[in-house]
């Protein structure tokens, strides 16, 4: 990779070629998602991939005033992503469509501004149930999809997407041990570029576990294809006792909770959500499933009652309004010995199914997911 002579050092004799060279920034070509490094300051990072990528900016890599130019020449949308502890502000969007680009300026080691004078503007589309919303003083059209459908793109451009996938089924209880609550479906916000109609898939919830039968994971919600869209992950089903084995909670968008004697499932990735709870076995009460906002509560509490699922997340930062609606909550763990019936996750909430109790009740199904798409007006 060519290097620029900048920064110059004390005592250096500058040549005309040095001064000319700083007008010709080196290119750093990337063919997959990439995390910026200190050497990228005062260079152009060029992404080139047919499917979606991320360009991650981590804390304490750059110093105040550093500038990084970014370009996207691939067909997949490149999303500039803030690492832990980093804030990236922009008047436009952090999603950069093909042939778009802009300039990242470090205002401190952890705060950046992204200028995108040639960036893509928002598109327009129809589909689902439409309403007008205002978020942070910005007006949007909001499209809500509660079942599979098609997004009809009437003008190519950027679209903000909020996907909630289906919740996992709750585990059954039996033999004086509660089942694990189902994990919530993943809760993902992303801005994508669409130039053509796109399929909208609403993930179904997973089935609850019957006696001696493991439940099933929730299914993913998605918009578009892997090349231009975004896809979530269904919640993991809760643990249960099958034959002579305590089945752990399953991996999912958010992990399923453990039954009275097992381990909770993990989240598919930290970007998707949180783990299910793991039993501490003071009693054999079940753990809660992972929620979009927190891990499931550990089971085995001394009361013998099942533990709560992990907290969900609020929709209001995306959909606006003053009413806080929380979805994608983890499923409730099952009690150690009662015969309390499990509660299913609500339709279009992505909530995990509640678990059955040790007295022999079955697990409940997870709730189906939901998809919101908005664009500026």
């Amino acid at each position: 990779m060519p290097t620029t002579p900048y920064p110059f050092v004390s005592g250096e004799v500058l040549l005309a070629s040095d001064l000319n060279a700083i007008q010709n920034l080196p290119l750093n070509d990337k063919t997959d998602s990439y995390t910026l490094e200190v050497a990228d300051a005062y260079k152009r990072v060029v992404m080139n991939k047919a499917t979606a990528t991320t360009l991650t900016v981590n804390d304490s890599i750059f110093t105040t005033g550093d500038v990084i130019q970014v370009l996207n020449k691939g067909a997949g949308t490149m999303t500039i992503t803030a690492g832990a502890g980093v804030t990236i502000n922009t008047a436009g969007s952090l999603a950069v469509a093909q042939y778009g680009g802009g300039t990242l300026v470090a205002l401190s080691a952890s705060v950046f501004n992204f200028f995108s004078p040639t960036g893509s503007s928002y598109g327009t589309a129809t589909g689902g149930s439409s309403s007008s919303i205002t978020v942070g003083g910005q007006s949007y059209t909001l499209l809500e999809f509660t079942t599979d459908s098609t997004l009809t793109v009437t003008k190519a451009g950027l679209f903000d997407v909020l996907l909630v996938s289906g919740g996992g089924g709750g585990g059954a209880g039996r033999g004086s041990q509660g089942g694990g609550g189902g994990g919530a479906g993943s809760f993902i916000e992303q801005t994508i570029y669409l130039s053509a109609n796109a399929a909208v898939d609403v993930g179904a919830g997973g089935a609850g576990g019957a006696l001696g039968v493991v439940g099933t994971n929730g299914l993913a919600s998605a918009v578009g294809t892997s090349a231009n869209g975004v896809c979530g992950a269904g919640g993991g089903c809760g643990g249960t006792y099958v034959q002579t084995t305590n089945q752990n909670g399953q991996v999912g968008g958010n992990g399923g909770g453990s039954d009275g004697r097992s381990s909770g499932g993990a989240a598919a990735s930290s970007a998707f959500g949180f783990n299910g709870g793991t039993s501490v076995q003071s009693t054999f009460a079940g753990s809660g499933g992972g929620g979009a906002g927190a891990v499931g509560v550990a089971g085995g509490n001394v009361s013998g009652l099942g533990s709560a699922g992990g907290a969900g997340k609020s929709l209001s930062t995306f959909t606006g309004g003053t009413v806080v609606t929380t979805i994608a909550v983890g499923g409730q763990g099952g009690d150690e010995t009662t015969t309390r019936a499990a509660t299913a996750g609500g339709a279009n909430t992505g909530t995990g199914g509640g678990a059955g109790s040790g007295g022999g009740t079955v697990g409940a199904a997870g709730g189906s997911g939901i998809v919101y798409i908005r664009f500026k007006v």
């Binding site: 509660t146 079942t147 089935a207 034959q243 339709a347 189906s368």
Partner: protein
């Protein structure tokens, strides 16, 4: 309009996918919903909501959990602890 749920089943009547979709949309988009689909019912008394791997019983028009998943009988479990 409340959501409907349809399960895709293979030649052995095993559920391979569950979609949240209105019947009209499913029937109007055969290229998207290939194969056989039967309705399943979410949180409805007397009906088993399908999960992947569940088997469709054409007589009862309902789903049952996969036999391979049911690896102990109710009686076997009663004295486990």
């Amino acid at each position: 309009m409340s959501a409907q749920y349809f399960a895709q089943i293979d030649d052995n009547n095993v559920c391979t996918y569950v979609a949240v979709v209105q019947r009209e949309f499913l029937e109007a988009n055969p290229q998207r919903y290939t194969g056989r689909w039967v309705e399943t019912f979410f949180d409805t008394e007397g009906k088993t909501y399908a999960g992947i791997g569940y088997i469709y019983d054409e007589v009862s028009e309902d789903f049952v959990a996969s036999v391979s998943s049911v690896i102990e009988s109710e009686e076997e479990s009663e004295n486990e602890f």
